[in-house]
Chain length 489, copies 2
């Protein structure tokens, strides 16, 4: 058995080098700003990196420090929000807004923090009556571990699809740092469910499987004493497990590992990581009742599935577990572990039966979740992905998912699984329509990168209490790069 | 004739090394602060320097950046002012308040800017629901070019006098950086009138005449094409004249040079700088009318004298010029330049006569200033220092200066000259009473260093529109170290 430390050693050895390129706002012009003056620089697309500025002055030698407010925004609309008005529950520390004093001008500044942005708004909070500030130059030292030279070309005769792919690849590019970050603005962590989707898009585009491998080993190295994998991992200042554990995210290690093997044929990694993956299957058993149905333990965030706060997650969780059991069985078969393959198959059958018996409303044909028997799109999608319903039945269910009686999802993360279900059912045109209607609409709304959250019916929805902390470059949203390249090329 | 560049070369060669010592708040204890939490660290006395902090966390691994507000205050009362409420005319850029984000904890920080403070207030603007910030250590890397080992001891049987001297020496210590700064909080420039008083206190205490020499050469090197010395000099990023010229400040180069020679006997410097000094006398002639009376050219700040905005400066300026003519004559005599000595004497006599004829109200015996014939303490003091009135007449005038009909001064700078006038008149007890009543009261109000401004009748007076930008460590206020040591030891 390999220890956590040995996993982490392998992960550290795979740390990528960041590629640094310097970007300047197209059409930049030297800008003079007196006290109270403000300006917005548009870098033309989304960047992640450090800001450099060359500042000077006009008028007399500055007789007081220059005091600037610098606000970074991924979308232009964020600039119209006052950070002071934000009252949400997620930390306001995420708002990309700085106040800095510059004692001596001219000055060549490099701001110490990394930002994710397209727009930079600079306001002179104080200069003096004797001088104005001059911005001689501003640039971004943009960072990513994605290698543009390795990006597979993608061509589509349909310009919207081409744009959707380009935006998805840009999203992935921006999130590929020293790990696959969920979002470079917020919260910059490596999350397991997010990783799985990023890895899929990455295999079709930047093909950096070593970064996926690194991330899998990071999770394996952060398992707790019982072997449970956390939902997320911190890498700074030291590698450390987040203390968040989610039913679905832990289990999704299994298909993420299988995907990695399918892409790379890396049997050594599959063999090393398989015990960790299998452990997730074993540990998940504690969350089922004697009938084989998932127990919602009432802990907020016990299972993720989607950011729709009204969502009951029981049925989705059942589907996730079944989906992962299928992957576990497949890995066991590849490795010739016939006993475990049989064990997975048996468990799968039991839990599928339980789902059909206790989580299906036979009259409507919809799966139900929780004590209120909630009907949601998420529950149906995960039951399809889990194989609880298959073939023409599954296809019929899929085509009824736009029914208004189903609770809708709000995240591209859940939408990705919806598209995956459509593909699984052989409904490629339906999948393409979903991609167009959801990601295509984000493109039509001007997205440079795909957003953490998008509800076409309420584009300003935020589960955090304010859009100013939303992440507008979020790699769980890079689905078009995966599906278009894999299935529509 | 020596060029400006040659003066500046000499000045650069005299740049002092800063002594760095690390100070921690007495009785410091590790401090845990959740979101919204705040604390004040009291360093026990005034420091100038850079802040170091060791930050950690309690709770979960931080899942959001820590966002701190850090406010620095020379006086505790400043902490009760909200910087956002400041509406004065001096740049709010001077308010010592920072907002910083810390992405990774634990962190060892060194803030990039220099502060002048005793108190540091730290408030957690954002952490998250999952962690609290911990301040493990805070210290100040205190900076000064004053050499404590050279400080002449001063003993007094009178504890208030002892305290006044100690506070004055601390004030000087804090302002002795790479030049004699006016105040280390604001505005940190080398000003000529301020330099003269700092140099006098320094000769009696830290005895660092090389720093005075450096500053004299800086001013000489910053003279304009006509030879006029600016009121102030910037030294960063390059040495540069401020574009502020004040009648009195330019002229005061002459007595400052004479004081330096009297202290050091440095004939070479006296000889090199004398042409620059004499030039100020020549250039000042343009500011007199045909009767030999100073013309107020109407330009705000044409002459400084004091920060009392109601003060008419004509008579004071006349007195300053006479005071400087006496010094010029003395330097000419030392250097054996008999022609210039005679020229200075003749000019002195003419301008003294003009003062007696046009600026004296014979009935009251008070000197008057401007079209409104304003009577101010400043006018009387400078006429005494300029020798317009002498002997018993001068002494009689001096003893009438507390008359409520005279406009009062507000700065320790003007008060220094008042004390000097008392000493000149042989009224040592009166001088001591002035020191006690003015600087002693600041000590009684808890001053660690003497303030830029002090009006005993209105301690919150500020010429800037808000006390939060006042400098509470201002070296034009270190008079007690000069007078007590020189005349009351």
């Amino acid at each position: 058995m390999i220890s956590n430390e040995m996993f982490l050693e392998k992960a550290r050895a795979l740390e990528p080098t960041l590629n640094i390129t310097e970007a300047v706002p197209p059409g930049f012009e030297r800008t003079v700003l007196g006290e109270g003056g403000k300006t917005v620089f548009d870098f033309g697309t989304h960047y992640v990196g450090h800001i450099r500025m060359e500042l000077a002055y006009e008028g007399s030698h500055p007789d007081a420090p220059l005091w600037l407010n610098i606000q970074f925004a991924e979308r232009e609309s964020e600039l119209h929000e006052d950070p002071a008005d934000y009252r949400g529950w997620i930390s306001r520390g995420w708002i990309q807004n700085e106040q800095i004093h510059i004692d001596i001008l001219p000055a060549a500044l490099k701001l110490p923090r990394r930002y994710a942005f397209r727009y930079v708004k600079i306001e002179v909070l104080a200069a003096s009556s004797k001088y104005s500030a001059v911005i001689e130059r501003i640039s971004c030292l943009a960072e990513s571990s994605a290698d543009d030279a390795r990006l597979r070309p993608y061509r589509s005769g349909d310009s919207l699809l081409g744009k959707m792919d380009a935006v998805a690849c840009r999203t992935l590019h921006e999130c590929m740092q020293k790990v696959f970050e969920d979002g470079p603005k917020r919260d910059r962590r490596l999350w397991l469910g997010d990783l799985r989707l990023q890895a899929l898009a990455n295999y079709e585009s930047y093909r950096c499987s070593s970064l996926v491998k690194r991330c899998l080993y990071l999770f394996a190295g952060c398992a707790d004493d019982r072997g449970k994998i956390p939902a997320a991992v911190f890498t700074e200042p030291e590698i450390e497990a987040d203390d968040v554990y989610m039913f679905d995210y832990s289990l999704l290690f299994v298909p993420a590992l299988l995907d990695y093997f399918n892409e790379t044929g890396d049997t050594e990694a599959l063999r090393e990581l398989w015990p960790v993956a299998w452990n997730q299957i074993i540990l998940a058993r504690d969350c089922f009742d004697s009938k084989g149905v998932v127990i919602d333990d009432g802990r907020p965030g016990w299972c993720f599935i989607d950011w729709n706060l009204a969502l009951d997650k029981q049925a989705s969780a059942q589907g996730v577990c079944l989906y992962c059991l299928k992957a576990a069985k497949r890995i066991a078969e590849i490795l010739g572990e016939n006993g475990k393959a049989a064990e997975a198959e048996k468990e799968y059958a039991e839990k599928k039966s339980a789902a059909l018996e206790y989580l299906l409303d036979k009259e409507s044909g919809f799966f139900i979740s929780g004590p209120e028997k909630q009907r949601s799109l998420a529950s149906q999608v995960w039951m399809i992905l889990g194989g609880v319903t298959e073939g023409s039945e599954a296809r019929d269910l899929l085509l009824r998912l736009s029914s208004p009686e189903l609770l809708a999802p709000v995240t591209p993360y859940m939408m990705h699984h919806y598209v995956e279900a459509a593909v699984l059912c052989g409904e490629k045109e339906h999948a393409l329509k979903l991609l167009r209607d959801y990601w295509g609409e984000m493109v039509n709304e001007g997205a440079d990168t795909f957003w953490e959250l998008y509800n076409p019916l309420d584009p300003d929805e935020s589960p955090y209490g304010g859009t100013i902390v939303n992440s507008y470059c979020h790699a769980w949203s890079c689905a078009p790069a995966y599906f278009l390249r894999k299935y529509f090329n």
